[in-house]
């Protein structure tokens, strides 16, 4: 140590680490280290080298006292209750300062954060999608079962429409799109739910859901075909499976970093997922246009459907009294990658579809098939027959109070538990 010795003598208490007794000592800053001498004794003092001193707390300049021992595992302790002593000690042994102690503790965290940043950067740079890759590892029948669970829980309390000429028409349309989508066989199942809400979504394992409300709102079979092609796009890209894995992975990571800070984490996760789902919608739209073209179905219907939805959400929805319920429905829709989600902005999607050059096309469905599809869950104008399920499970107001084809603003809270 370059600092000169200091003649000031401080009173302290020394414990020898063998018993809980203590003895009064005099302490002095010598050149070689702290000199500790039992009060009233004539013997050689203990000398604690400055470099080996450890403090029980990081030593602040305003510390009223200091408790010292020798590093790394000294059991002798020296306690000096004098602010002047703490100040002098800090001046001599900078390593005891809080900043230096924290810097040492930061090292592992800094290494870890740098590593994570490097990995994330590399994944970003190489445009690798680790979550989608993980989703592809899931066996098809597991994805299918999972998707059936999701569909079942979403359709709880609602009738699914499985039979009749409408079913056959829907299967014909689906088959045409699937064949156009990929050379390889793709297991796809489309479930039609007797639900007034205008909606469609993709669950894991190629399980697609259409609602009665959507089919009856659509102006042509081409519109339904566009929506189906879009959902097929989600299925091809494994968006539902990827979303599930992302939710699990991000949730676990956030729990590790912010353990306990639940709500902040959830907001962050929701925002992250929103960002991902925008990209996913664009991908699905791109697939939809390709599939429609391959299938020889006009893409105009897809654009018509967006316009219809845009008009409905821009105009009619605004004066509905239950805007809170709408938001709920929207947030659920977003999580399920629904066709009716507000992003990418509908105008942008319409423009994208309209920019598509024309190609030779045939009708998506025959007139007979189209009518059968619309009436699959019952005739559009007829009041819905009472379902076999309890009344309170029925979403939305009774059909008589609803404008035909308009989306119901009903509460879908019961179906929010699908967590996708």
């Amino acid at each position: 140590m370059s600092m000169p010795s200091d003649p000031t003598v401080y009173e302290g208490k020394l414990s020898d680490g063998r018993t809980a007794a203590t003895m009064r000592v005099n302490v002095r800053f010598a050149e070689a280290g702290l000199e500790i001498l039992p009060a009233g004794e004539r013997r050689a003092p203990l000398v604690w080298p400055y470099a080996n001193l450890g403090s029980s707390v990081p030593l602040r300049t305003d510390a009223p006292d200091a408790l010292l021992s020798l590093k790394p595992a000294g059991t002798q302790t020296l306690f000096v209750a004098d602010p002047a002593f703490s100040r002098s000690l800090r001046a001599r042994v900078g390593d005891l300062s809080p900043a230096r102690q924290r810097l040492a503790g930061l090292r592992p965290g800094a290494v870890f954060a740098t590593l994570v940043a490097a990995i994330v950067g590399a994944i970003w740079y190489m445009d690798y999608r680790p979550l989608q890759a993980a989703a592809r590892l899931m066996p098809q029948d597991a994805r299918e079962k999972m998707g059936r669970n999701v569909v079942a829980s979403l359709a709880a309390g609602m009738r699914t429409c499985e039979t009749g000429p409408g079913r056959a028409a829907l299967d014909r349309l689906t088959q045409r799109l699937v064949t156009a989508a990929s050379d390889r066989p793709m297991p796809v199942r489309v479930v039609m739910v007797n639900w007034g809400e205008v909606n469609a979504f993709a669950a894991p394992g190629g399980q697609l859901v259409l609602t009665r409300g959507l089919v009856q709102t659509a102006g042509s079979a081409e519109e339904v075909a566009g929506v189906l092609a879009h959902e097929l796009g989600h299925a091809i890209e494994l968006h539902p499976e990827t979303g599930l894995i992302r939710t699990i992975a991000l949730g676990a990571a956030a729990d590790l970093i912010f353990a306990g800070a639940g709500s902040a984490t959830n907001i962050g996760l929701a925002l992250t997922e929103l960002r991902y789902s925008r990209a996913a919608e664009r991908e699905a739209d791109t697939h939809a246009l390709r599939i429609l073209k391959n299938a020889g179905i006009a893409a105009r219907g897809f654009g018509d459907f967006f316009e219809r939805i845009g008009a409905m959400y821009g105009g009619k929805r605004r004066d509905e009294k239950t805007s809170g319920e709408k938001e709920k429905a929207d947030s659920m829709g977003r999580r399920l990658l629904t066709i009716v989600s507000t992003h990418p902005l509908t105008d942008e999607r319409i423009a994208m579809v309209r920019a598509q050059p024309a190609y030779p096309a045939t009708p998506a469905l025959s007139e007979v098939d189209w009518r059968a599809l619309r009436e699959m869950c019952g005739a559009p104008t007829a009041p819905r027959q009472p379902a076999s399920t309890p009344a309170q499970r029925q979403p939305g107001p009774p059909p008589a109070e609803r404008q035909p084809g308009a989306p119901s603003g009903g509460s879908q809270d019961e179906r929010k538990g699908t967590n996708l």
């Binding site: 007794a21 009233g40 592992p108 009344a391």
Partner: protein
């Protein structure tokens, strides 16, 4: 330095335990730790926690000399990593892999989640015991270490079966369980080579517990009756049979929430009346080498401490929890008096070998015997 205490502790009179509020307090440290934790993606948590403990421990003074926390962030981190690899990771894999791989139904998934929950409870006792052992072994006063002897398995087993009996006994086992766990922990607690003794029984706790139990039931029904009265009063008549129930107005909702919160607060007071008695009684039944303890917690102060600590943690998303930990420690220290005098020179060093790792299990499950 074998000279025996030449400035002996005053022979007469009791020792004093006091709180010396540390310079800088805990607010700045909390905020700094929160920031560094985010910057290091969570890893700094263990080092931040260690500095908080160093500061809290050193604020506790016995006869003017501070306690010392000797644990390190690295130890806590290693403990966490081990528990993460051996417990958390396997549990979470068991938690979601069946859904991903085999698409099990929601009911089977519920069963899996329930099983995981049971494992966590089973590990709760281990976590509690080990956390306490680690902390005691890292606590020094005058260079003498604390410690917890005994093994964690018997404690974990007691913890598990007494926890399982709580619902089966409709809660009547709770005071008995508290005394039993306290005895298991304190009779094994050491400072140096001398053990604490705990002679408390559950009998004296039951008088107040009866009232807690009855009031819980009475309050529950009273609150529900009041809430339904408010609800149906707003309808102006019985609801149409079979039809959907109309939604209550905002005023009604506010009144219903107020009733619920009021009942909760009353219950918290009664519960604190029991807990306060329990803390004070347990302290009075604890001895260390000729020294007794007297704790004087009071009901209003306990409720205030619990409520404000809870709000502080919740509103700051946990960032301010160092402040709440310090407040809890200070609360106890300022209400604790030591009765009688310990022959300090007769207290030798704790012979237990130091444990190598931190308190991972407790950290992971958030159990704390403090």
């Amino acid at each position: 330095m074998s000279v025996v205490d030449n400035a002996a502790v005053p022979a007469a009179g009791s020792h004093r335990i006091t709180w010396a509020h540390p310079p800088g307090g805990f607010l700045g440290l909390s905020l700094l730790n929160g920031l560094l934790r985010i910057l290091t993606l969570g890893v700094y948590h263990f080092w931040g926690k260690t500095e908080v403990r160093q500061r809290i421990w050193s604020a506790v003074r016995i006869d003017g000399e501070p306690l010392e926390y000797r644990g390190t962030g690295g130890e806590l981190f290693k403990g966490f990593l081990i528990v993460f690899a051996l417990v958390l990771l396997p549990l979470s894999i068991v938690g979601f892999l069946p859904v991903l791989l085999w698409g099990v139904s929601f009911t089977s998934n519920f069963a899996i989640q329930a099983a995981i929950f049971l494992v966590i409870i089973a590990l709760g006792g281990f976590g509690m015991f080990r956390a306490r052992r680690y902390r005691l072994s890292r606590t020094r006063w005058r260079g003498i270490r604390g410690g917890l002897s005994g093994r964690s398995t018997p404690f974990a087993w007691t913890y598990l079966w007494t926890t399982a009996l709580i619902p089966l006994t409709l809660g009547w086992i709770i005071p008995w369980r508290a005394a039993r766990l306290q005895r298991a922990l304190f009779n094994e607690t050491h400072f140096g080579d001398k053990a604490f003794t705990f002679t408390g029984r559950s009998g004296p706790l039951y008088v107040r517990y009866v009232l807690v139990w009855l009031s819980a039931i009475i309050l529950y029904f009273a609150a529900f009756t009041a809430i339904f009265t408010v609800y149906f009063a707003g309808l102006g008549g019985p609801p149409p049979p079979g039809g959907p129930l109309p939604s209550p107005s905002y005023a009604q909702i506010a009144a219903m929430i107020a009733i619920g919160l009021g009942a909760l607060l009353i219950f918290a007071m009664i519960r604190a009346w029991y807990s306060s008695r329990m803390f004070n009684y347990f302290a009075s039944e604890t001895k260390y080498h000729g020294c007794g303890f007297r704790l004087t917690t009071t009901v209003p102060s306990l409720v205030w401490l619990a409520a404000t600590n809870y709000l502080m943690r919740a509103l700051s998303l946990g960032v301010l929890s160092p402040i709440t930990e310090a407040r809890s420690m200070r609360y106890i220290v300022e209400r604790l008096t030591l009765e009688g005098s310990v022959d300090w020179p007769a207290v030798g060093q704790n012979p237990d070998a130091l444990l190598a790792r931190g308190e991972g299990l407790a950290e992971a499950f958030d159990v704390d015997a403090f």
